[in-house]
């Protein structure tokens, strides 16, 4: 059976985005752009359910 890497790739991208936005949060916080902090926090939080969804969809696809 063909292996499906799509889920793995998407999840890796999500993780990369998580890292980037977390870094941005910290920087923007110290630059006192508090609106931006809230925006990035929102993105970071929304990424979590997306990751769960991707995982649920992909976990049973292609194996071995």
């Amino acid at each position: 059976m063909k292996r499906s890497y799509l889920g793995v790739i998407i999840l890796c991208l999500i993780l990369a985005m998580n890292i980037v936005f977390t870094q941005l949060i910290v920087h923007q916080y110290y630059h006192e752009n508090y609106q931006n902090v809230l925006i990035y926090m929102g993105i970071n939080i929304i990424l979590f359910p997306i990751a769960i969804l991707v995982y649920k969809k992909e976990k049973n696809k292609g194996g071995s």
Binding site: L15, N18, T22, Y30, L38, M41
Partner: protein, 174 residues
């Protein structure tokens, strides 16, 4: 490797032949994705406190005014000298520098790299952080060398009755 009754079939009941690896790989992939999804959760939770702090700052507290605080008497600080003080709270160390007869600058002196105290080095006319040799411009607080990337927060000072007072902390113009 158990059958319906939870028993190990006779042919597999030994120490060398009882390992079933058929699903190892698909489990690997699945486990990996599980870890990634979990990491996303950790990041989501980790960004919450920053958001709350930011929201707090947004509500009201913006451009805070603290009670003016006397730093030092003018006669006690010569041109080119510096004094340390604490502003706005007792836990925020800061430094006041008298650059010229009538020119004073003050910064919160926790290094913007890893918060070591920054000192005024008179001979070099620079503010230096001893930890990783970060340097700051004394006129603006901007980092000029070393690891720090953000300027030191400037404190607005004001002169009154032969003494210097701290007024407020300037916001970054980033």
């Amino acid at each position: 490797m158990t059958n319906k009754n939870g028993k190990i079939p006779e042919k597999d009941d030994n120490y060398t032949n009882n390992i079933n690896r058929n699903n190892d790989r698909s489990l690997d992939r699945r486990g990996f994705m599980k870890t990634l999804a979990g990491a996303a959760g950790v990041f989501a939770v980790a960004s919450l406190p920053w958001g709350t702090l930011a929201a707090k700052e947004l509500m009201g507290l913006a451009d805070k005014e603290y009670p003016h605080k006397k730093i030092v008497d003018i006669k006690d600080i010569a041109v080119g000298e510096s004094v340390e003080f604490h502003f706005p709270s007792d836990h925020d160390s800061a430094v006041l520098i008298r650059l010229e007869e009538n020119k004073y600058v003050a910064y919160q002196n926790a290094c913007t790299h890893l918060r070591c105290p920054v000192y005024w080095v008179k001979e070099q006319k620079e503010m230096v952080c001893p930890c990783h040799h970060g340097k700051f411009d004394v006129n603006t607080g901007a980092p000029t060398a070393g690891p720090p990337r953000r300027p030191l927060p400037e404190i607005v000072v004001h002169q009154e009755d032969e003494a210097i007072f701290a007024v407020r902390v300037k916001r970054y113009e980033a």
